[in-house]
């Protein structure tokens, strides 16, 4: 089987060019989808029976939460590829993805809190999902902190990659234990960050937002990886050629 395409992809100059060409094809559709999703979620979707207009926060909360986990999976996958096949570019992808994931996690937490306040009366509840998101944020920050603490880029890449893999293995454990913990203490007043019973008019803007957010992540990732490649590349000939474009 001809694997040269894989080798080509792992070469930074090649990836750089592909990423550059791909970026607008990811960014603009992302913007369009998000705008459509916003309109659908804010205007078109009918209000929920129980939660009224407040449930609309779902349209930013759920995509953010979903992305926070997708990005971590990406980060862990890239780290694994980097460690096993010793592809430095994979580590660059992981490093580029981390801040994006942390931001999505932060938005998930903040919007979750804003969603919860009118429902539960407090700005924060130790709801299973929010708690799990908080721990995920710790994992992201740990990854970035470890990478930043080691001066040598190669060592930093690999150490952070090990941490990412340990984290991704721990993630199901963390989820299970947090949900287990949360069900123990169900007070009468505390309900989960419940999804309202959902009809199609409510669902399609959510799917649109999800797709939009995912494309947005991909677009952000391409730009950040490009920056990372430029920062690491030592081949003067290629740099000269690329920067002259």
């Amino acid at each position: 089987m001809d694997r040269t395409w894989l080798h080509k992809l792992a070469s930074p100059p090649h990836f750089y060019r592909i990423a550059g060409r791909l970026a607008p094809w990811l960014g603009w559709p992302a913007l369009a989808l998000i705008l459509i999703g916003l309109y659908g979620g804010l205007v078109l979707a009918p209000a929920d029976h129980q939660q009224g207009e407040g449930f609309r926060i779902l349209y930013v909360h759920a995509p953010s939460a979903w992305l926070s986990m997708l990005v971590y999976a990406t980060l862990a996958l890239a780290s694994g590829i980097g460690l096993i096949w010793r592809i430095k570019l994979a580590h660059a992808v992981a490093l580029a993805a981390a801040p994006i994931g942390a931001w999505f996690t932060f938005v998930a937490l903040a919007t979750g809190s804003l969603w919860g306040k009118p429902m539960w009366g407090t700005w924060w509840v130790w709801d299973a999902r929010l708690t799990a998101e908080l721990i995920l944020l710790f994992l992201y920050l740990g990854f970035l902190a470890l990478h930043g603490a080691i001066d040598d880029t190669g060592r930093a890449d690999r150490a952070a990659a090990v941490l990412a893999l340990v984290g991704v293995i721990n993630l199901p454990v963390i989820h299970y234990s947090v949900y287990w913990w949360n069900t123990l203490h169900q007070g009468a007043t505390i309900t989960k960050l419940g999804k309202p019973s959902i009809t199609f008019d409510m669902l399609w803007p959510l799917l649109v937002m999800l797709t939009g957010f995912t494309l947005c992540f991909a677009a952000l990732l391409t730009r950040r990886v490009q920056a990372e490649i430029l920062r690491r590349e030592r081949d003067a000939a290629w740099l000269r050629a690329e920067l002259a474009r």
Partner: protein
Amino acid sequence: MNAARFLAMGGYAAYVWPAFGLACAVLLWNAWAARRAHARARAEAQRRLAGLEADA
């Protein structure tokens, strides 16, 4: 739909609008930051290249 009613969001305005505002602000900031990171990396690479060629 009535604009005032839309903005009021059935009484949840104080929560809905900040939530959407925050999400959009974070996405826009990330978009700007990613582009800026790229531009900065280009500039630094130029400088590095110039330095190398000056030494050569």
